[in-house]
């Protein structure tokens, strides 16, 4: 058969659901915890789909809970509603333990932190890894990232640290190792790693208006990201907080630059910040999984 177009062939993926696997007497290697943002937020659904493509591409025997998944309770706990948190946690732990789940991967640092650190006290003990660490492992095993950066080669990328990945759980290098395979022009914001500035959405702020103040936190962070990508040293001269990195020397055209994130809330906040600065036609916000799936050429 002669090809009619140059478009890559597409193959449908059906995501294995835990209930079906259990009925068939099978067990997955790893459970993919999708999270509410990954399941409902239109923007973050694209991250979920990209990550599932990667799982499919490398042939991981995975499964999701599907309709049996429920909020981990993170926003309730951070907002002080410990009762609601524990109700959610116990419900999820019951589901996970019924399926005898041992290992969980998730693309949400909040779900990651909650299941890893706060479920054990309630009887949920699992090996939990964030997708940045999972992708780092796949890269180290040579399963992805071998074909280079693809369309991202040489582009300017800055990584925004998620609080619940970084300070909360000391994961700073995994996302950077993942980005390194893109062969891009990686630049660090002055406030990065342990000194990274929050996007403003943690602690249940995602669901409420900010208290009165001078500025929204995501605008402050987006300005820093844009000035870093643009190499505007003057705009970076008087940031508040602790700065570790030196300002990027020399001005750069923002066109085609990327803010990389690893958290659904950071995704929303940074995207809104970039829009507020009217730079959305020039600067895009991507999750690590999207960047890797696109570079691999498997994002259909």
């Amino acid at each position: 058969m002669t090809p009619i177009t140059e478009a890559p062939a597409k193959r449908p993926i059906s995501v294995p659901v835990m209930a079906d696997l259990a009925a068939a007497g099978e067990a997955p290697e790893i459970l993919f915890w999708v999270g509410c943002a990954g399941a409902f937020d239109d923007r973050y659904k694209r991250v979920t789909r990209a990550f599932v493509r990667i799982l499919d591409h490398v042939g991981t025997k995975d499964a999701v809970l599907g309709l049996e998944e429920s909020c981990t309770g993170d926003p309730a706990k951070r907002a002080g509603n410990e009762f609601l948190f524990q109700m959610q946690a116990v419900q999820n732990i019951t589901t996970l333990n019924n399926y005898n789940i041992k290992k969980i991967v998730t693309a949400c640092p909040h779900c990651f932190n909650t299941i890893k650190n706060e479920y054990p006290a309630l009887g949920g003990n699992y090996e939990v890894i964030h997708h940045s660490t999972f992708l780092q492992q796949l890269i180290n095993e040579g399963k992805i990232g071998v074909s280079g950066g693809g369309e991202f080669k040489g582009r300017r990328i800055t990584f925004h640290d998620s609080c619940y990945l970084g300070r909360a759980n000391d994961i700073y290098e995994a996302p950077r190792d993942v980005l390194a395979v893109l062969d891009a022009d990686l630049v660090e914001m002055k406030r990065s790693r342990a000194n990274g500035l929050c996007c403003g959405a943690g602690g249940a702020q995602m669901w409420k208006e900010a208290e009165p103040g001078r500025k929204e936190i995501n605008i402050e962070r987006a300005e820093e990201a844009l000035a870093t990508l643009g190499g505007q040293a003057a705009a970076l001269a008087n940031l508040g907080g602790v700065e570790t990195e030196t300002a990027a020397p020399g001005e750069h055209d923002l066109q085609g630059s990327i803010i990389a994130v690893s958290c659904p809330f950071c995704m929303t906040m940074m995207s809104d910040g970039v829009k507020n600065k009217e730079q959305e036609s020039r600067v895009q916000v991507f999750d690590l999984a999207e960047l890797i799936a696109s570079a691999e050429g498997i994002n259909a």
């Binding site: 090809p3 478009a7 890559p8 062939a9 597409k10 449908p12 993926i13 999708v34 399941a39 409902f40 937020d41 789909r49 599932v52 493509r53 599907g66 309709l67 429920s70 909020c71 309770g73 926003p75 951070r78 907002a79 002080g80 509603n81 410990e82 009762f83 609601l84 524990q86 109700m87 959610q88 116990v90 650190n117 706060e118 309630l122 609080c163 909360a168 759980n169 000391d170 500035l197 929050c198 403003g200 943690g202 602690g203 249940a204 669901w207 409420k208 208006e209 208290e211 009165p212 103040g213 001078r214 500025k215 929204e216 936190i217 402050e220 508040g240 907080g241 602790v242 691999e296 498997i298």
Partner: protein, 461 residues
């Protein structure tokens, strides 16, 4: 002989008064709730060594870290000299440690050089606080009145103590010079100052040297008793504070055991809820409230931590809410905790709690007697501005955790008063009804997997 007796009495009075103040503070700390801190001695020791003794977290900011290191090492070394002064004072000896010979030379020389460097560091500290505009973290509604004065008093006392040390040594050198004797020890700074003293009689110089000696040690005794009223208490409290700081990942928030029991009882009818704790009289204690309303609801480790706070404001300077002009200042919450426990229970010699006005958008407190930490000092507006990002926790050089207190007070607002912002109540109902914080139908949870394709690498259609 008279001097020895006076000195012994002074020493006794100084340590007696200090012990009396420490007992009050210990009692203040113990009003807090129980927290199990047993075990993990090796890890606690390692952390105390690194963070408290080694000041590892100070070195996030090099300039203040180096200046502080000078004062810190100066303080450690000068304690050896203080020990010598105490022995001399009690037994009427003079420079009793001089038998150490070359070691004594080194000790005295180190002491003098550090004392000179301390003066430089203190001058720099004073400038950073008092020039206009000061370093941002030395500003804010919680850093006015007494806390601001306290910070400067500490610097002035340090200057006076260092000058007393030089005065004592210089007079001693001059005395020995006139008497044609060799003074044990090496004094690089005082040697430069000897020429400034007039060629007075031996008697006058003896009086001057004694005056310097008495002034130095009396100053130290006074400073010791000033500590419990001051942020400078951190020179002692930082060590137990770091020792008892949390060992779990910063993202892990505490579990509320009483709620776990309730939830288990709801889920499993056969679950037996543990009997309530018994008081000393054998009767069951009333159930604890959820979260924190006042200081005695906090774990005692948080009260201990409040006493180790140096009010340096690193927490506030990295707080995203504070950076963008919100009311929240993590330092204020820690300072409020200490003020509140001293206001309600025992106060040290000098006690000037912060009173906030319009600048802190504080609701007027009318009923002082019944004011609590929550609302009386910390407003809900501050608590709701927190993003739980852990920047304050990460930045604290002595491992204080303001976030834990913030969450505990949020728990009280939500669980005891149902006083969450309306938008958060909507989020709670969404989780209860839809299993997600947004108003989506749970039956749509798996829709993301519809029409999902993967591009086949290298295969073209």
């Amino acid at each position: 002989m008279v001097q020895t007796v006076i000195f012994a009495l002074l020493l006794l009075a100084a340590f007696g008064l200090f012990a009396w103040q420490v007992r009050k503070i210990r009692a203040n700390i113990l009003v807090g709730r129980d927290r199990d801190v047993s075990g993990n001695a090796a890890e606690r020791l390692r952390k105390t060594f690194l963070v408290a003794f080694g000041q590892s977290k100070m070195f996030k900011r090099t300039t203040p870290a180096l200046l502080h290191l000078v004062v810190y090492v100066g303080f450690l070394v000068i304690n050896i000299e203080v020990l010598e002064i105490v022995i001399d004072g009690l037994f009427g000896t003079h420079r009793v440690l001089s038998f150490l010979g070359p070691v004594y030379d080194g000790l005295m020389a180190t002491n003098e050089i550090l004392a000179a460097l301390v003066l430089v560091a203190v001058a720099a500290f004073w400038w950073r606080r008092n020039h206009q505009p000061p370093v941002r973290r030395f500003t804010g509604p919680e850093l006015r009145m007494w806390p601001r004065l306290d910070a400067n008093i500490i610097l002035y006392i340090e200057v006076v103590l260092m000058f007393a040390l030089f005065f004592m040594n210089t007079a001693d050198l001059k005395l020995h010079e006139i008497e044609g004797k060799e003074l044990a020890g090496t004094f690089p700074v005082s040697n430069l100052l000897v020429g400034l003293l007039p060629a007075a009689s031996v008697g006058t110089l003896e009086v001057l040297e004694r005056a310097g000696w008495w002034f130095h040690i009396t100053g130290i005794f006074l400073f010791l008793n000033y500590l419990p009223s001051s942020k400078h208490f951190h020179i002692i409290m930082a060590f137990p504070g770091v020792w008892y700081s949390r060992l779990v990942p910063q993202g892990q928030f505490s579990n509320v055991e009483s709620i776990t029991n309730e939830v288990k009882a709801m889920m499993d009818p056969s679950f037996v809820v543990p009997a309530p704790a018994l008081g000393p009289d054998g009767a069951a204690l009333p159930p604890q409230s959820f979260g924190v309303k006042d200081v005695e609801d906090l774990p005692w480790t948080n009260l201990l931590a409040a006493y180790s706070c140096t009010e340096c404001g690193r927490c506030t300077s990295v707080c995203p809410a504070n950076l963008t002009g919100k009311l929240l200042s993590p330092r204020k919450i820690i300072m409020d905790t200490r003020d509140r426990v001293e206001e309600k229970y025992h106060s040290p010699l000098i006690f000037q709690p912060n009173v906030y006005g319009a600048e802190a958008r504080h609701e007027p407190i009318t009923d002082l007697a019944n004011a609590t930490l929550l609302r009386g000092k910390v407003t809900p507006e501050e608590l709701w501005a927190c993003t739980t990002c852990n920047a304050c926790v990460e930045s604290c050089p002595v491992n204080i955790n303001p976030l834990e207190s913030i969450i505990e007070m949020r728990r009280f607002l939500v669980l005891e008063e149902s006083a969450a912002p309306a938008s958060l109540n909507a989020m709670f109902s969404n989780i209860e009804n839809n299993g997600a914080p947004w108003a989506f139908s749970p039956s749509d949870r798996f829709n993301w997997a519809d029409d999902l394709y993967v591009a086949e690498k290298g295969v073209l259609v």
